[in-house]
Symmetry: D2
Subunit: 371 residues, 4 copies
């Protein structure tokens, strides 16, 4: 086997990726090496690469030159000596979350709240997170990557690598719904339902038993396409047509059990505020979107009505297992996602050329390795 591999690396903030040969990494005792068959080009990637150090200086990028790539799926190619439950040839999704293993949250098993939590191939969430990025300086935009066994989700045969590489955004939706207690008999409002996050919310809320899903967005054609997934349970509304809370109260006078914000960066604040006003007494809002800035929140009303506002980022390895099971069971149908696949050489085009998306239905994939 070759001792090098092809990787796309960013050498300076904002510069295009450079395709180059680098050393093939070796797995540590509890690690595996994965041949990356698909890596999602998440909508936010261009922002991260160009603006992160300016917008969020407290959240470190990987040391440059760096291999980015948040959401990879592939085949295990080598395993460390302490790896159990996985073997060469297994098809896996690689959760990018990395944790330190020693802080109080980690020792309590709450790894996603590690004080040094980082996304390998993307960025870290605290100032100490760069240590995690140094420990695992591998993203999905390379032929191979090394990852710890704790990050792996075994993909069922029925899930393609392209759909597996969507697990990050889908899992963000799933985890948000779980934190808000969505289940049988829940009603919910989803702002941004036709986007990459919002479509995942719709798919998992259906699988989890929601009785009514009220979705908003702007593009009426995309909204209609979401509604067609389950016309008897999903209703849609364009924000061009009025205030969201007025519409919700017409549909459900007591309000919804759950409000999910799934809007992307640059979204206005009104949908968020109107979503808060759409909750029933005791209802919960969960924010998985990228709405930025300070949103004016009526905290007295939240107190009076026992509302909760839950921030949720990403998902746990256990939630990834759930998702694989739900795909295998047929509870979630990923076939509505349209794959658009590029080879690794086209990475810069892919990052910057996502204008023609069909909202969340489009699934932009780099396929760095084919064997």
């Amino acid at each position: 086997m070759s001792t090098t591999m092809m990787a796309a690396r960013m050498h300076e903030v904002g510069a295009p990726m450079v395709l180059e040969g680098v050393l093939l990494p070796e797995p540590g005792p509890a690690d595996v090496r994965v041949s990356v068959r698909a890596c999602n080009i998440v909508p936010n990637l261009a922002n991260i690469l160009a603006n992160w150090t300016t917008w969020f200086p407290q959240n470190p990028l990987p040391a440059l030159p760096a291999i980015f790539g948040l959401d990879p799926a592939g085949v295990i190619d080598a395993v460390g000596e302490d790896v159990r439950g996985f073997q060469v040839g297994d098809r896996v999704y690689v959760n990018p979350g990395r944790h330190c293993g020693g802080c109080k949250a980690c020792r309590r098993g709450d790894h996603i709240n590690c004080t040094s939590f980082a996304f390998a191939g993307y960025f870290g969430f605290t100032s100490t997170a760069s240590e995690m990025l140094d420990r695992y300086p591998y993203g999905g935009l390379a032929e191979y990557m090394v990852a710890p066994q704790y990050a792996l989700v075994k993909l069922p045969e029925s899930v393609s690598f392209e759909h597996g590489a969507r697990f990050g955004y889908l899992g963000t939706a799933y985890s948000g719904l779980r934190k808000a207690g969505v289940g049988t008999d829940t009603t919910l409002l989803v702002n941004g339902i036709s986007g990459t996050l919002g479509l995942g919310v719709a798919l998992y809320a259906l699988a989890m038993g929601a009785t009514r899903i009220l979705g908003t967005g702007r593009d009426r054609d995309l909204l209609e396409r979401v509604r067609a997934l389950a016309p008897e349970r999903i209703s849609v509304f364009s924000t061009k047509d009025g205030a969201i809370d007025d519409w919700v109260r017409r549909e459900l006078p007591d309000g919804v059990d759950v409000h999910v914000n799934a809007l992307g960066p640059g979204a206005p604040h009104e949908p968020f505020i109107q979503g808060m006003k759409s909750l029933r007494r005791g209802g919960k809002a969960v924010n998985i979107g990228a709405t930025a800035g300070e949103v004016p929140i009526d905290v007295h009303h939240m107190m009076d009505q026992q509302h909760q506002l839950i921030g949720s980022v990403w998902f746990t390895a256990g939630e990834g297992e759930d998702m694989a099971a739900m795909a295998a069971n047929g509870m979630v149908d990923l076939s509505v996602l349209e794959n658009v696949t590029f080879p690794l050489e086209k990475v810069n085009d892919a990052i910057h050329g996502l204008e023609n998306r069909h909202g969340g239905f489009s699934n932009y994939i780099i396929s760095p390795s084919t064997n």
Copy 2:
């Protein structure tokens, strides 16, 4: 027995209470009648009486003339035929929460989120809540009141009626701490720690095992008095001395597990905002205070750091049982509360003359009945 009783009633919004004889109410099948020995004059009462219909027109007052009185304790004097587990002579706290019994939340046992939830003797939380106020038009500012058995908490001998009549504000603190998951090994920030709500937060957080309680307020003497409750676990800081989050990060660089807002009406927004900034990754804020208006919240930061903001009002009957047990067990020491007791005739003085409080340490009580 007489067929009338003395009651203080408000005949017009904002008018003083009128002391008058009214019909002695009879308990229904699942109700008890309580001889009210103590009723708390909660700090917010003057506001409710004078300004509620203007400030919160959607939240109905009881039909006038009305017997107010949120937080009563007394002795059972008569029981309906379906009452089980209580008998004449039992000492009880009467939780003012009333629910409809038929809405979806009620049938799920989540009575506090009833679509018609109301505080007997105070106000309702939704437009349909007046129905509950009509069903139970009895507050604690009368010699007797009728209440449903579901609202009762049996008081242990070690809890005086005066301290029992503080259970409402204490329970608000306790329930807020529970919703935020406070327990052994928790660190928390309490804004407004020396007030009526905040002192309850301190007392119950100690009992529940919090390791570090960081309390803020303005009055340094009162703060010091709170700190003296458990100097090795409580630290205090006057907001006159700087930003709260700077202080918290000096004490606990990773931030606190929980931020409790216990400030009263009219509080500025800064402590709330600084409290949100004081949370560790994965931390939770709980709002039991009366901070009003729209507080600017950085929802992107909440998402990134998995923060939650939990609105919490009042507490359940089961939580009341916990509180009675904790008092009986000696886990919570209520002897720090200083009772200031008035007869029913002095009710108007008591409502408007609370300027000389020692913060939350003062416990202003009306004692309508003595037998």
Copy 3:
């Protein structure tokens, strides 16, 4: 409207039901009256009527002459003045569980563990339960019955009265699965999978996301019929062919997450014992069946392997709401149940003539009222 109705009543333990005219009951303030369209003749009814006072003398029957009938569905015909959320004409399932409202469990909202819990139209669970049977002496084997609003589940249009009258046994399955934490990615063993309880376990476990359902029974044809519900997820095994735990370990070497005992009265102990041996480390057993006598349990093994054994009877009103939502959502398909319907006059035949059941697929129904 007539002031009488037809009812089937038992006048002496073990005697046949007598069809007779009785006074039409009036609903109390928080009650409704239901025109009973369907009442399930549960397999165990003949046992209850003939042998209960001998077998379980501590568990009281209703006062004789009594209207039995555990599992009714029908249409609301009158409502009390405090009823909210239901109105005349609503289609409902009537949960037979009755609670006192005043004991500690009730005041905590844990009504099913009320110290006086009783099944209206069936029997009580403790010596004080006769009080509940006196409060609601109405079962489903009459044209009308009175029930408290807390017991009602609104039936969606897609659920027939005959299927609604199966909610009791289905809900027993559903609640057992919930208590054992069954969800996405769970594997389970169901002993007695083709019986009235076991089939419900299969249907709800599929809806809740179980990946593997291993079912046992005796009759190979019935087992095969269960397997055909979802051949890629359900496997079956006849206890005539060997030990259950040997089979389970061949299918899943680490064992199952959950073992459900759904066997009826008179079942041997071996399947239960072999089910306990089939659990993975950390697995849970839930007993909803009627296996009687003292089963030898290796409690040291349970401790070492962190096994739990959970007794579960019936289900809450909230779980009933879930079930109605799951039926409306299409998550559970009740069309596999074959209704066999009798008029009220044939009640004695129905109780004693259930030999020709197709296991749990048969649904024996009395239809006392048709308007």
Copy 4:
């Protein structure tokens, strides 16, 4: 520093420990090395050493010659490069639980239910557990041991090494109480309350808020000593004086919320059976004791009354953190434990000479290292 250390090792099953010099172990990247100041000689150790391979052949011992020692506390002496949150000089308890990190339970953060779970220095729980014992072949009966950072609990200054070395049995009690939902307002029965496990149950149940603790045992003097810990909350009963359930029903007619079995190996079955009969409707039994053999359990009664029987072994690292906090807070007073300390050379005497225990009050400690 020397490259060797003194260790007590067993070379053959049942043979006495041999004191000998062995290579000083080096920590891996995520490990620490601990200078062992105290190691508990748990009452069951002699059984494990002599009889384990006969009694429980499926549960592997460490490869011989082996360093045993289940419950160590000491000072960190060296740290691996990936260790965060701990440094040289930290005082720690070393949880002996070791998990694989890759099985489904591990990836869900449920490490104690790992399919290869093992106690370092003691034994493994499944056939694949020997792999974990090989990965960490270090018990506390040596001057130094290597352990993973995930197993560490930082000891507060107020906890001596001798008391820290009791955390294993104390934590077993604490975790069992948590699994049974013990908290404020709970009543419980503890069989074996004066033993090593049972005394821990009493101490933590008090701290967690239990209102009534009914304890049984045989020795009336020891029972009285337990009762004296909190005479207003603890009652005791000698099994020489009658049936346990009769006594419980005299004290609490509805039964207890929780029954804890804390009896050691060789205990008769009657207390267990009588404990099951002592539960209230909805009550829970938790088995942390070593009662062996097949106990006859009335599973129909468990179903009817919604009883649960929970097997619980050991505790998580997070629960260890709780315990350290509770000791620091003063919620649990460990000063009732009487330390009896031996040097490492006396290990064989200590293992076999524990006859003069004062029940659970005696704390038998080996102190292998003093610097």
